[in-house]
């Protein structure tokens, strides 16, 4: 499955500067593994040491937060758009 991944400004230096990249996989996790293989700098920014989605990252499949779907096991189909969003937070 070919999907578009929208990358926040913070992570763009790791993917060659672009706002979005194409990647492949049947699930969000597979898409991320493909991306990380291509852009190793993304590794620690997307997935934590336990293999879970990084706490400070939110991922949407089209209009849906994948935390409320099946997390990294959320299936993707051709043409889906995955948006990676950093946590914007403070105190």
């Amino acid at each position: 499955m070919s999907v578009e991944v929208r990358v926040p400004t913070l992570l763009r230096p790791h993917v060659g500067g672009g706002a979005s990249v194409s990647s492949d996989g049947a699930t969000v996790g597979e898409v991320f593994q493909t991306l990380i293989a291509q852009f190793p700098g993304l590794a620690g920014n997307l997935i934590d040491d336990d293999g879970q989605l990084h706490k400070f990252v939110n991922v949407y499949r089209n209009d849906d937060d994948i935390r409320y779907l099946e997390g990294l096991d959320t299936k993707v189909t051709d043409g889906d758009v995955l948006s990676i969003l950093p946590a914007v937070a403070g105190g």
Binding site: R6, P8, T9, L10, R12, A19, F56, N58, Y60, D63, D65, S83, L85, P86, A87, V88, A89, G90, G91
Partner: protein, 151 residues
Amino acid sequence: MASADPEFADPALRLCVADYRTIVAHCYDGLPDEACGLLAGPIDEAGQPSGAVSVVYPCVNADASARTYTVESRDLLHAMRDAQSRGEDLIGVWHSHTHSDAYPSDTDVRQALEPNWLYALVSLKHAEPVLRSYRIREGVVAECEVTLVDS
């Protein structure tokens, strides 16, 4: 463009009066919790904002807290899409400090991830609200001028 006042870092945050009022009203509406929102505007090829704000997006504070804020991710998604659909981008975030000054807290500095963003603070500590703007890079805070312009 250099700031007129050497004490200020670039760029100046340029906000129309209507947007300023939207920000301040959202901060009061959020009491007793902190309120937050996003700023969109033009950026150059290097990703640097000019400082002009074209849209302000009041957002939900997902923390629903008087001490911390997290911009609701769905609001962030929609604001980002809207800004990019106009060929602009998000250029910053604002949030309120309900009982402290308009200066980034330690938590704000630690969690400021975007070196190109403007971090605006609205203090509701006194009778009159105070809005100030900062850049936060690698833990270093630099204040930027705030200019209100007629819309």
